[in-house]
Amino acid sequence: MIELKDIHKSFGDVEILKGINAKFETGKVNLVIGSSGHGKSIMMKCMVGLETPTSGSVIYDNRDFTHLEYRQLREVRKEIGMLFQGTALFDSLTVEQNVEFTLKMFTNMTPAERKDRVDFCLEQVDMPGINQKFPSEISGGMKKRVGIARAIALDIKYLFCDEPNSGLDPVTSRLIDELLKSITEEFKITTIINTHDMKTVFDIGDDVIFIYEGNNEWSGKVKDIKTSGNEILTRFIEASQFH
């Protein structure tokens, strides 16, 4: 489980996150929704350590991520996988080398064992047989899937996805959603997805947090989202035309 305790983040005089408290349960698809520019991505960056919160704590299963020593921090990070909005695949490496990357860096697996693990991960995302292709040679949807394969190459406990469906057609978008859901359930990981795609929310979401102007405006179960009684959230859902 990941817990956020009173997270504040400011850039100069501008306060982006204004005291976020939240819990993300293990084995569930936790969705963070909200309009662009309200702090979703900054919150995720604070959670994975790409930004340091001005104050507050990020707790990974009783480990205070924001106050760990550098080496301890690196140990926790090995348990984290992240799918970036632009996939962030290493473009000088092949698909196989991308997925193999963390295995090479952090395990003592033999090349044969690494190859087996890479093949397993690529099969999980339904992308077998593209090992020797470079990221520039595959489509956006394929890159997303390879990004997921890379994220799960190590036995991760936490999976972060920043706008996993951005720039994808509806069919591929649905495939990615289903993939994230099945991986979360199969590997019993804590998945956190930043999105403003309400179809994703209703299709695969378990718990939802609605971020508005840097605050946790509403949180609860997906099934309760339409009856939340929160005007801002209702407006957001109506605007997405999925109510």
Partner: protein, 231 residues
Amino acid sequence: MGMFSKPEKLGVYIDRTITEMNNIGIGSLAIVVIIAVFQGAVTTLQIAYQLISPLISKPVIGSIVSDSSMLELAPTITCLVLAGKVGSHIASEIGTMRVSEQIDALEVMGINSSGYLALPKIIAGLIMIPCLVIISIFLSNAGGILAGEASGILTSEEYLQGARASFLPYNLFFALIKAFTYAFIITTVSSFHGYTTRGGALEVGASSTKAVVYSAVAILFSDYLLAQLLL
């Protein structure tokens, strides 16, 4: 300082260093060869043009060209060119990784990104750039000999006689000190500008330009400083 922390996996860093040695060393060999040969040839012709006098023996031309190549032309001109070629490549490669979130991906994985990206390039530069400078010294002299023979100004024997007469091992040591200093400047300045890139494609270009300009200025400044201190 994070760049110099213990590597996550030494073998991976060694592999990356060898790859970078190939990129920096072998990748720059052609341009270094061309520059060195022409540099030596042109210097020979110009020195001969300025020293036309029955009172000056022809081997003096070989002596001046060989010393100039070793002390200044081969290390400094070669490294100014490498600042453009290698420096811009390093800055744009790392800068592109920064703006496309690849460096963020490394950080999230728990990898020391500055160490992983910059350290192999610095070590590779420190190994390969002095090698390129030594090659450049030899080829400058070869260019000088060729130009002398081709123009009939002096024979290769006269050139070599002058070069041998004025050769001091300390000059070669001085050239290598310069080469190591410039290699460090090129790789660190370029890595820094690439790593601190923010924005998009436009900023990657700006970082690349800054890397070349700052490296060149730092090379010229340290050239003066080293000459003042060591000669």
